[in-house]
Symmetry: C2
Subunit: 272 residues, 2 copies
């Protein structure tokens, strides 16, 4: 019998417990970006530290990741502390360090969720099905892109052919892990950071840019993630303001059945 | 000569440095809510811990506050640590504790900001000027409301007179501190939490509800805040999804001159 190889996502987010209660992992070259790894894989790894912790209760409701400094290739240390556990909620503080220096901080809220009154006010975007759209050619992009299949609906980056009077910052695409992998909370957290900086769409011009802080709210439960499986999810992202070196971004991730799985917000540094 | 009395906001967010480097403050009854203080005053106090820290550089770009447990009336301890200081950014971890138990955690990103290309894609809401709108009667509301003058444009809470087919979660109002106080980063952070839970607007029905985690992005600089002075700012907030005991909220705070001062997001617990 052959053992099926680990998916690159599982390899990149894998953590090993140390004797002192900390966790160790390794920045995987497969998810490398321009400076350090793709922010989404770091977010997923930090969330994974809480997800796999023996004291964890419930499922993720909120995750904030602050990118304080670059993560170098190779080993890192994660400390995940359940700062406070209530009857149905749990608050986590998580840090990632290399060589004794903190490069990323995170907080997470987990909760035991139960059925309540429900409504979705955001509208499912009008979008053609993924099958008819050509996957993005990731050959010339930074390595992490090759772990995703992205079928763009609108909002290509650095599209200088767009008329100046049609410039907005909206990107919509279908996205799934490549090769396909069943969606879970960690991979959903990573996908929330898969939208390139909005300034590449809005101007459209390349400038140095990177996520400084990202917050994701998880609306999905485990049953919805299981139902989604490894089929593409629909992502939509836009900015509201660019100024003095920073712009925001708000994103929605939808299941192909029209359920809002997560909303995610970030603030992005840009130069010039 | 008489000394002018401290504004309630400055009294409630005041911190005193202890010999061990921590800060002490006190939950002010003037900002009391149903269980513990108004979340906005706690956010402002935590931000204030970084703003007044001798090692602080720059101005706030992002603030995340996690409400892990109730804050009781009386004294609390805040520890604010500049986890990492780069050339132009600084990352903070901040905790608020009472009796040795953490009740609130926060992270903040500060930055030295400089002029860059700028654009606002979000639209300034169409709204009548504040002078023609009646201030909200706060007499029967929880105490913290009386520190604000709120002139509602739309989205009253628990408005059972709304036709069922017009139910959305949008609230818009003009808001300022009462008595008037010049806007600064701390008071702007507090105002970002001044929107009552969206579920009170959307259903509209009273249920137990409260903010669990809030993230604010600051687009304003000190000059814009100074220009705004103590005149009302325009706030707008809506939810995108309600389900399994949690709903999100996205808010915008605009100057009366049409500048987007802050965008703020939160996840709110609700029962039933």
């Amino acid at each position: 019998m052959s053992q099926s190889p680990l998916h690159a996502f599982d390899r990149a987010t894998r953590l090993v417990a140390s004797a002192d209660g900390s966790l160790s992992g390794s920045a995987d070259p497969a998810y490398a970006h321009a400076v350090g790894p793709f922010g989404g894989i770091t977010a997923a790894t930090l969330l994974n530290a809480a997800l796999t912790h023996p004291q964890r209760i419930g499922t993720p409701v909120a995750l904030t990741v602050n990118y304080a400094g670059p993560v170098a290739e190779g080993e890192f240390r994660i400390d995940a502390v359940p700062v406070r556990t209530n009857r149905s909620t749990q608050h986590w503080s998580i840090t990632l360090a290399q060589g004794g220096e903190v490069s990323t901080t995170a907080s997470a809220v987990f909760a035991l969720r139960r059925e309540t009154w429900t409504a979705t006010d955001a509208g499912f975007p009008e979008a053609p099905p993924p099958a008819g759209l050509t996957p993005l050619d990731t050959a010339k992009l930074t390595p992490w892109f090759r772990n995703y299949e992205i079928r763009l609906i609108r909002g290509r980056m650095l599209d200088t052919s767009r008329p100046a009077d049609e410039l907005d910052s909206l990107t919509q695409f279908w996205i799934r892990d490549e090769p396909p992998r069943p969606l879970d909370f960690a991979s959903l957290a990573a996908i929330c950071d898969s939208f390139y900086p909005r300034i590449f769409v809005r101007r459209p011009l390349w400038v140095a840019a990177g996520t400084v802080s990202m917050t994701t709210y998880f609306h999905a439960d485990e049953a919805q993630l299981a139902a989604q499986g490894s089929r593409p999810v629909l992502g939509s992202a836009r900015a509201s303001h660019f100024g003095r070196g920073y712009h925001d971004q708000s994103a929605e991730i939808w299941s192909d059945a029209g359920a809002l799985l997560a909303t995610s917000h970030q603030i992005v540094y840009y130069k010039e």
